[in-house]
Every structure is written in C-alpha cells, then in structure tokens.
C-alpha cells in the first residue's frame, strides 16, 4: 500500500437499524444480522479494511 493511504478511517457502516447511524460515511442498511455477516467479508476484501462489530446492530469497516 502506498503511503498516501488514509489510516484509522471508517470506510463503511453496515447496520440493521439506520436510525442509529448518521453522518458522512457510506451507510448500508440490511434486513438482518445474518445478511450483514454474509456481505461484510466482501466489504473487507473490496475496501481493504477490517470489519468490527460495535453491537448487535452496527458493524464498521475500518482501515487500520
């Protein structure tokens, strides 16, 4: 990776409850936790970030 990559940056938020997330971050709303688990691996690969689970509704993809 080049040195210009942003560090410690939230790349995307995946959630089942959009009411709890706002702001200038791409937010993806899913129907269920299982659906998030299905997709978050793809998000990791595409964005080169790591998936973290904040609680049962909110997942973050963060570049470290």
């Amino acid at each position: 990776m080049s040195n210009t990559t942003l560090e410690k940056y939230i790349l995307a938020v995946l959630t089942t409850n959009p009411n709890r997330v706002t702001g200038g971050v791409p937010i993806f709303v899913f129907q269920s936790k299982e659906e998030i688990q299905e997709k978050i691996g793809m998000f990791e690969s595409i964005l080169g970030g790591m998936g973290h689970q904040l609680d049962h509704e909110i997942y973050l993809v963060v570049r470290h």
Binding site: M1, Q37, G41, E44, G48, M50, G51, H52, Q53, Y59
Partner: protein, 300 residues
Amino acid sequence: MGQYTLPVLLGILFGFVGRVVLLKSDYRHYPTHPHGMIIHLTLGFIAASLGSIAVPAIMEREYTAVTFLAVAAQHFREVRNMERETLTRMDQMELVSRGTTYIEGIAMTFEGRNYMAILIALLTTVVTTLSQRWWLGVLVALGSIAAALYLKSGKELGSIAEIRPARIRIEGADLYVDDIHIMNVGLEISRELIMKQGLGLILKPKSIDSVVTLSNLGQRQAILHDLAMGLGVYRDDDKPSLVPLTRRDLNDGRIAIFFLPQIKDMEEAIDILQRVPVLENAVRVPTQSDAHLERGSVHE
C-alpha cells in the same frame, strides 16, 4: 615495497576471511544469494584492502593516508544507506513487514561488519610488519576473527523473556490471548478461522529492563516478522482480520502474540521466538539510569 608485500597480503586475506565468516545467511534468507552475497563479499574485500594498505603508508610517514580511512568510513556509511533503502522498499511487499527498527538494525550490522574487516586487516598487517614474523600475524588475525565472532552475536529473545503457549478465545466479537485483549473481529468466518488456525503466545519479561525493551513496537514487529518467516503466514493482502498482532498488558508488561501460521506448530513457534534477535535499537536499560541507581532497588 618488498618488506610490506607479505603483511599486506596477510591483512587482506584475513580481513576478507573475517568478512566471509561474519556473513551468514540463515532461514530468513538475507542477504540473498547469489547477488546480495557478491556485493557484500566484494565490499568486504575492499574494506580489508583499505585496512591493510593504510599500514605501510603510515610506516613510510605518509600521514595523510589516514584520510584514506575517512573515505572508507564514508563509503561504508553508503552501504548502510543501500541496505536500508533496499529493505525498506522490499518491506512494502511483505505480508508481515520487518518494520523500520529491524531494518535499521540489519543496515547497521552490515556497516559494522565492514569496519570489523578493516580492523582485522589493519591489526594483522601492523603485527606482521612490526614483528617481522608472519605466524604472529596469522595468530593475531585468527584471534581477532574469533573475537569478532564472539562479539557479533547479540542477545536473543529467550534470554530476556519467558515464552509460553497461550489459549486463544473469542468472547462475542472480541478476541483474547489468555486475558489480553487483541482486537474486535466483526466477521464470523474470520472468527472461526482464527479459532481453527490461530496460535497464541505470551512473552513474560524477565526484568524491568526487558519490560521496556519488549514494549518497543519495532521489537514486536520483528518478532512477528520472524514468526512469519519461520512458519509462513495464513492470510492474504485483502484479509485484514487475519493480520498477526501483538498487544501489551499495561499492568505487568506481558506481550500477547496472536498469529495465524501456515504451518501450525506450537513447539516450532516457541523455538523461533527463542531465537528472535533483541534489536540493538530497542534495548533500554532503565535500571542503569542514575535516577534508578541513586534510589536503590526499591522497585525491583
């Protein structure tokens, strides 16, 4: 020049032999061969020549010859830069990087060993010239090579820390090695993979000094890199959740190592860790500070 021929030849020969002996490529495969080796052997030969030729020059009262050695020092500083640059560039392409502290350490070693070649050559030539006995020169040369071999080996991790296997567990989304928190893993597949393939180890520092040394991020990266060299690494560029990590217990300075190896073998992992070099640049000895010495060993 006749009287100096043998001393100079002996100096060059043993200086070069000294460099060859100190040039060791091991499982980390550095320096690479053949070309990395050729570069360093040639430089070693040049270093040995510089060291031994300086002696007759000074004996003939050509004192400006000392500047010659200054040029040599300048030249070998370049060696350090060259190594640093190469390693830093290569580091970007490693799945588990060496880290800058490790790279500086390696670069420093290469520079230092060229100076060793100069010194061995210088000493050999001086002794042979002054004593007029070739065997005395050979003896001194062998002695100094032995001394160089003895001095070159730094400390290893096994001598400053106790290394023991530890259990990996996942609570909710949080990954722990023993009781030390490593990270939050959001992806369930990754959690399963971690439980299946992960290795956990704990380093327990043996003294206050080693607590500080082990806390160094460069030292910790070097540990991970050596593990990856020895056991392979179970991840690819797009799998950040499988990245090996070290975390530190703030209370007692223990280091938890989390690692996904290609070859899962705990005994070999411990063996590798025992031999990880303690980086010169990471070593700290707070117990040697004046403040500590004046207060006695209250904190020990």
